[in-house]
Symmetry: C2
Subunit: 462 residues, 2 copies
C-alpha cells in the first residue's frame, strides 16, 4: 500500500458515516470502477462514493484531503486511456447520480447540468425545445467525463469540441472549496481562462460538479450520405478537398475497408466492404442539398463510387448507429479479444500521408486493426483487436502505437485528438510538448493540488 493511502481506513470510516449505503467497498463495484472501455490494466479503488450533490462532493473531498487519500472522479467509465484507474488506490467519486438538467436558457442557447447527465439524456431533454447539444464521442458518456477529457467526436468538424462548447464550470477543488470558473456571458476577458484549464484536466485538478454548455437550434433539414472508394487515398483526398472548399459539413467520417467489413457483419448491413465516407449535412433544405452536391462532385473527382443519399431519419439513425458501433464491430472480428483504441490528430494537409503510412504498417505487421476517423478534423483512430492474454500481441500493439504517435508528432500533430492522456499516453506527452511546457503543467498541478491527491499518476508524473 502506498504512502498516500496509508490512512484509507480512516477515510472509509468517515465516508461511511457521511454516505451510509452510498459508500461501497463491494468487490464487484470496485472492479467495475477501476477499468474503462479499452485495454489497460484494471486498478480498482479502495472504495466508491456515490455523491448526490456538490456539498457532498465537497465533504468527500475534505475527508480524503485530511487523510491524503487519492480521489478519482467517475462518470460512466467510457474513457479509453485508463483515466479512471486507481493507480495508487483511493476513493472513486461516482457522480452518475448527479444527473439533473438544472436549467435550460433557450433564449441564451445554453444549459447548466450536473456532471452525471449523459449526452443522450441531455438531448432527450432538449428535443421538445427544438435545441440540441452536438458533441458526440460515440459512447453515451457523461458530460462531466466529456469535459474532463476534452472530448469531441463526429460533429466536431462543424460545432467544435468540448473546449469550444463549455461556457462555465463549477468545480470542487482538492481542498474542498467550491469555485465557479466563469459566468454565462458568451465571451469574457476577465482574468485567466480557468474554464479551459479544467477542460481536459482529466480529474487531476478537481471534481467537476456543474457544467454550463452552449446549445444549438435543431437544423431545419438534416441529410446523410455514404460514398465508398477503391482507394484510401480517394476517401481521404475527398475529405481534404471538402474541408478546404469550405463546405460546412456537420460530420465526415472515414471507415476503412477492414472496419466496413466488420460493420457489415456486426450491424447486418450490406455496404460495399471498401473505404467509406459517412457524411451528414445540417442547414436549410436548400443549403443541405447544395452541400451534398458539392461533396458529390468532389468525390467523383476522387474516383468515389455511388454517392448514396439517405434522407430519412430512420435510415440516418441506422447509419450512425453502425458508425457508433464501430468499436464493438471491430471487437467482434476476433473472439475473446479486447480493443485497444489509439487516436492521433494531424493538420489536414498531412492526413492522407499519415493514414496511408499507418495502414501500410498495420497490414505489414498482420494485425487486426481497423481505422476509423473524424477525418474532417484530421483525427483518426486505430483499434487494435488483441488477445490480451498473449504478451507478444500486446508488445506488438505497443510498438505500432508508438510509431503511429511519433508519425503524427513528426507531422506537427498531437498524440491524442480526443481520447486524452490518462496513464496510457503519458510517455508521449513529453515528446509532444517538451520538458519546459510539461514543467508549467506540473507547476499548475502543484499550485492547485499540492498534496497530489486528485487522480494521481495521470497525464504526467507528478
Amino acid at each position: 500500500m502506498s504512502v498516500a493511502t496509508v490512512k484509507i481506513d480512516e477515510t472509509i470510516a468517515a465516508l461511511r458515516a457521511l454516505l451510509g449505503e452510498r459508500l461501497s467497498t463491494s468487490r464487484a463495484i470496485l472492479e467495475r470502477h477501476g477499468k474503462d472501455e479499452t485495454f489497460h490494466a484494471a486498478y480498482p479503488p479502495d472504495a466508491v462514493a456515490f455523491a448526490r450533490s456538490v456539498e457532498e462532493v465537497a465533504e468527500i473531498v475534505k475527508i480524503c484531503a485530511a487523510n491524503r487519500t487519492p480521489i478519482i472522479p467517475y462518470g460512466t467509465g467510457t474513457s479509453l486511456e485508463g483515466h479512471i484507474a486507481a493507480l495508487q488506490g483511493g476513493v472513486c467519486i461516482d457522480v452518475s447520480q448527479m444527473d439533473k438538467v438544472l436549467k435550460v436558457n433557450p433564449e441564451d442557447l445554453d444549459v447548466t447540468v450536473q456532471p452525471g447527465v449523459t449526452r443522450k439524456q441531455l438531448n432527450e431533454h432538449l428535443r421538445d425545445l427544438g435545441l440540441f447539444f452536438p458533441i458526440d464521442p460515440g459512447a453515451n458518456a457523461s458530460l462531466g467525463g466529456m469535459t474532463a477529457t476534452r472530448a469531441s467526436g463526429t460533429n466536431a468538424v462543424r460545432y467544435g469540441t468540448m473546449r469550444e462548447n463549455v461556457l462555465a464550470l463549477q468545480v470542487v477543488l482538492p481542498d474542498g472549496r467550491i469555485v465557479r470558473t466563469a459566468r454565462r456571458s458568451k465571451k469574457s476577458s476577465a482574468g485567466y481562462d480557468l474554464t479551459r484549464l479544467f477542460i481536459g484536466s482529466e480529474g487531476t485538478l478537481g471534481v467537476i460538479t456543474e457544467i454550463t454548455l452552449r446549445l444549438y437550434g435543431i437544423p431545419e433539414a438534416v441529410s446523410a450520405a455514404v460514398c465508398s472508394f477503391d482507394t484510401l487515398e480517394g476517401a481521404v483526398n475527398t475529405t481534404i478537398a471538402t474541408i478546404q472548399s469550405g463546405v460546412p459539413v456537420a460530420r465526415i467520417e472515414l471507415l476503412d475497408d477492414v472496419q466496413m467489413d466488420a460493420v457489415n457483419r456486426y450491424s447486418k448491413l450490406n455496404y460495399p466492404p471498401k473505404h467509406t465516407l459517412f457524411l451528414e449535412f445540417h442547414g436549410s433544405e436548400a443549403s443541405v442539398r447544395e452541400q451534398a452536391e458539392a461533396v458529390q462532385a468532389i468525390a467523383a473527382d476522387n474516383d468515389g463510387g455511388q454517392f448514396q443519399f439517405t434522407l430519412q431519419a430512420e435510415e440516418r439513425t441506422r447509419l450512425w448507429q453502425a458508425r457508433h458501433d464501430a468499436a464493438y464491430a471491430a471487437k467482434a472480428l476476433r473472439t475473446d479479444c479486447e480493443i485497444w483504441a489509439t487516436d492521433v490528430c494531424v493538420p489536414i494537409s498531412r492526413l492522407a500521408e499519415c493514414i496511408l503510412e499507418t495502414r501500410k504498417e498495420l497490414d505489414e505487421a498482420k494485425v487486426v486493426a481497423p481505422i476509423v476517423g473524424h477525418v474532417g478534423d484530421g483525427n483518426f483512430h486505430v483499434a487494435f483487436v488483441i488477445d490480451t492474454k498473449n504478451p507478444a500481441e500486446i508488445e506488438l500493439a505497443e510498438h505500432l502505437n508508438e510509431k503511429i504517435v511519433m508519425r503524427a508528432l513528426a507531422m506537427d500533430g498531437t498524440c491524442t485528438g480526443e481520447h486524452g492522456v490518462g496513464y496510457g499516453k503519458m510517455q508521449f506527452l513529453l515528446a509532444e510538448h517538451g520538458g519546459d511546457a510539461i514543467s508549467i503543467m506540473r507547476g499548475i498541478k502543484k499550485s492547485i493540488d499540492p498534496q497530489n491527491i486528485m487522480n494521481p499518476g495521470k497525464i504526467f508524473t507528478q
Copy 2:
C-alpha cells in the same frame, strides 16, 4: 523607486550591450510606451527594448530576471485598461519590429506570425490567397496584443474570439525559457490547455513571440445593411431575435443615438441620428440575400425604419470605417477631453434590460457617454467623454462605471467582454470570480512567475 527595480541600472547597462540603439531611454519613447488609448494615468517604463527575434526576447527576459526587473510586453499600445502601464517601472519589450508573417498553410487554413504583425497587415498578406483572419477589435492592433487581451470585436458573433482562433503559441517564460503551447492540429486532448492559459493573460505569464491562427476563406458574397430605430429597445430586441433565430450574421453592431450623432459629425455621414444597427452577412449570394431578408423581417416586427442595403464594397468600407471611428467620433463631441471606454458582456436574454437601464442612468447623470456594442454577443461599450483635468468628472465616471459593471455581474455577465482587466478593472475581478477562483489564478501566476516580474500589478494583486 520600488524594490523590484532597484537594479534597473544594471539591467539597462546589460540591455544596452545586447541591443545597442534598440534600447531606448529617451523621454518621448518612454512616455509613448507608458500609456494606452484610454484614460488611465500614464506610467512610463525605465527603458524600452525593441526586440527582433525570439532569441533576443529570451536574452532580454533573462537579464531582467537576473535583476528582478519588471517586464511589460508591448505591441501597438492600443489596449484600453492600462495594460501597458509600467506601474513598478521596468523594461518595456516592444515587439513591433517582430512583424513577419512566418508561414501560411492555405491547405490547413492556418498561419504562423510574429507578435508584432497587425491584423490589417495580416489580411493584406492573405488577400491574394483568398483567405482572411476575421478577428477585428477596431484598432489596428498587433496579433500579440490581441492574444494577450483575448480580444474579439465586430466579427466575433460568427467567428468567435481570439480564444477560439489561436491554435498555438510560442512564449518566452519569465526565466527566459522558450516553450510552444501546442502543435498545429485542429484539436488535441494532450494535457493542460496552455494555449488558452496564455490567451488573455495580459503579459503576466510570459512574452508571446509566435502565434498560430486559424484562417477562413474569403466569403463568396458579403453584404451590409443599416437600420435605425426610434427606440433602443427595438434595436436590441431585433438583435436578440436575430441571434435566437439562428441567422449566421457576421456582424451586428449597435450604435445608440448619441453615438450616431457623433459618427455623423465626425465621419461626415447623414444617417438618421437614431439608435442604429450595422449588419454584415457572409456566404453564398443566395444565402447572403436570405440572411438579410430574415433580419429585415425581424427589424420590421420591432418598429425598425428603412432597412438600407449597402452591397458595394466601397460603401461597406465607408460604413465600417465609421463604426471603427466611433471612439474618435465620441471624443470629438467635447474638445480637450479624453475617452474612458468600459465594456461589459451579459447573456443575450438580459441585454435589452442591461442597456436600457445603463442608458437611463447615463442620461440622468448628464454625462456625454455614447453606447456602442457587439450586441450579437451580448457585449457593449460605454465611452465616457471626460475632462480629465476635472476630478469631479473622473469621480462620476468611476461611480457610473462601477454601476455598469455591477449590473452586468448581477445579470450573470462579466466585467469585461473583450478589453481585459489591466489595472483599470482589477477591483471588479474579485466581485466576478470570488476569492477562491482568484486564489487559483494567483497560484498559477506564482508557479510560472515566482519573482512576479511579468507585467506586475495587472489583473489581480500578486
